[in-house]
């Protein structure tokens, strides 16, 4: 049976289940899969976290290096987020330059981190206009079981919450120090399956989806980023309902990231 036929049968099945408020793996429509965060997974990184949401696994690694601030923000460090959807993680990824999907993951994660002012970039300035820390967040998807954005964002947050500024190694200060995380944005992704809107979609649910929406919220009640993806549409009322759900899930996701950081 070809992959396409399998995919079509699965899609029909996913939609039929959804019409009855059910999901392939038995979850409720507002339920996440099991989440785990393993901080410090990579000792060569200045911060790292391996996040698993169900059978999705994303590894985030942080590296900090001295560099030049941007001319228009001379008093701030630089945050750079990069995602690699490496072909190791899924039969659907091809080797080659970053695909639009990888770029979308990295940009949506970057947006939530940046808009929530997760880290105070002005504290990464060493000499205004001359030298500041460049903070690289590299996201390595290891196993693609759906909902990459939430897993990648949680991994990034967990890695940042755990990171050390290597100030001693680069001769900039007498000692290394912890990177301070100021806000804890959490991204929460939904897909439409017929009239049902379910949270934390699996790979099969994403393939069946008629629209995807990611909403990032923070711990002080702000929406800091949104991204609609895939083919499909949502009404403004759909969006407002998802916002409420995203705030609820956000609290839980934040707690997991903070737990990992403690």
């Amino acid at each position: 049976m070809s992959d396409e036929v399998t995919a079509e049968i699965l899609t029909t099945h996913v939609l039929e289940l959804a019409a009855h408020g059910k999901r392939l793996d038995g979850r409720g429509t507002d339920e996440y899969r099991k989440i785990s965060v393993e901080p410090g997974f990579v000792s060569t990184a200045d911060g790292s976290a391996l996040v698993r949401i169900g059978d999705t696994a994303v590894l985030a690694g942080i590296k900090l290096e001295p560099g030049k601030p941007f001319p228009d923000t001379p008093n701030a460090g630089v945050l750079t987020t990069n995602a690699e959807l490496i072909p190791l993680s899924s039969p659907i990824f091809e080797p080659g330059p970053p695909q639009p999907g990888a770029i979308e993951v990295s940009r949506v994660v970057d947006r939530s981190i940046r808009a929530a002012e997760t880290i105070d970039l002005t504290r990464l300035c060493v000499t205004p206009g001359e030298k500041s820390w460049i903070c690289y967040v590299d996201l390595h998807v290891l196993d693609h079981g759906g909902n990459l954005i939430d897993a990648a964002q949680l991994a990034a947050l967990g890695a940042l919450a755990h990171a050390t500024v290597p100030a001693k190694r680069f001769g900039i200060a007498e000692a290394d120090y912890r990177l301070e995380v100021v806000h804890y944005p959490a991204e929460c992704t939904f897909v439409r399956l017929g009239e049902a809107i379910v949270v934390d979609p699996t790979f099969d649910e994403e393939r069946a989806a008629q629209g995807r929406l990611t909403i990032a919220t923070d711990e002080i009640g702000r929406i800091v980023a949104m991204q609609k993806g895939l083919v499909g549409a949502f009404s403004p009322d759909d969006v407002k309902a998802m916002v409420e759900r995203a705030f609820r899930h956000g609290e839980k996701l934040r707690a997991i990231a903070k737990g990992a950081a403690a």
């Binding site: 808009a115 929406i223 949104m226 609609k228």
Partner: protein, 250 residues
């Protein structure tokens, strides 16, 4: 959105609720749409929207390139959003950057949500958006231009796609951000509406808003889109009631 460490933040809203360019919070910039602005594309449109100038062209349905993207049950919709090197204050190096690739992806997905692609299996519908002069809101202007270009090309669609950015600047929820509001404001939220269904096919957001502000912003955006929808329809009516191809003028 509030660049870190940036200085000289201008006053974006007067106490009387007037914006930096004289508009009210729910007021759009002037928009002029020319359908059929190009001679060699299958469909095209030129949009002047405030200080934005955006050209869109559509080719297809035609052979798929590269071949392995071909789909047996429907047309693929390929979109390329590009900014001319001279379209921004600081020259942009030619070539695709990550921002352009992301915009191309969400715009393509927006059109896939309304085009009847299953009517043209094994073909490609190619949408090109060229930003010639930029002043915030180029993805929405590009989407509007491309939507009119698709109609001009005779591609069957469920509806046109008006689009606009709403956001927050100087503490107020506003529609159709200009460059200062985009650079120094608190939030930017581009959206595209299917007017007949009232649903959104493009929605992005960066910055910060409360849930109440978001609700207001969504309503303001829908209202803005409905205004733009009128202009788009008029442009298409003008296109087919006038024989010669309209000239593009500044």
């Amino acid at each position: 959105m509030g660049s870190v460490g940036a200085k000289d933040v201008p006053v974006l809203l007067s106490p009387e609720g007037i914006r930096i360019d004289g508009r009210r919070v729910n007021e759009l910039r002037p928009i002029k749409i020319t359908a059929g602005a190009l001679k060699h594309a299958d469909g095209s449109a030129f949009v002047q929207w405030g200080l934005n100038k955006v050209m869109a062209a559509v080719y297809g349905p035609r052979e798929v390139h590269p071949r392995h993207l071909q789909q047996n049950t429907k047309a693929v919709i390929q979109c390329k959003y590009n900014m001319a090197a001279f379209s921004v204050d600081e020259r942009k190096r030619p070539g695709l950057d990550r921002r352009s690739q992301e915009i191309s992806k969400v715009v393509a997905e927006a059109f896939e949500s309304v085009v009847f692609a299953e009517e043209f299996p094994r073909t490609s519908i190619d949408v090109y958006i060229e930003v010639l002069q930029a002043n915030a809101g180029t993805r929405c202007a590009g989407l509007v231009a491309a939507s009119v270009a698709l109609a001009d090309a005779g591609i069957p669609m469920a509806d046109l796609l008006p689009a606009v950015a709403v956001g927050k600047a100087g503490g107020a929820i506003i529609v159709d951000l200009n460059k200062e509001e985009d650079n120094f404001g608190e939030a930017d939220l581009p959206m595209a509406l299917v007017p007949q269904s009232g649903r959104l096919v493009l929605l992005q957001m960066e910055g910060h808003m409360t849930r109440e502000e978001l609700a207001t912003a969504l309503d303001l955006g829908v209202q803005g889109c409905r205004g733009i929808y009128e202009i788009m329809q008029q442009a298409l009516r003008d296109r087919y009631s006038v024989a010669p191809v309209p000239e593009v003028t500044a």
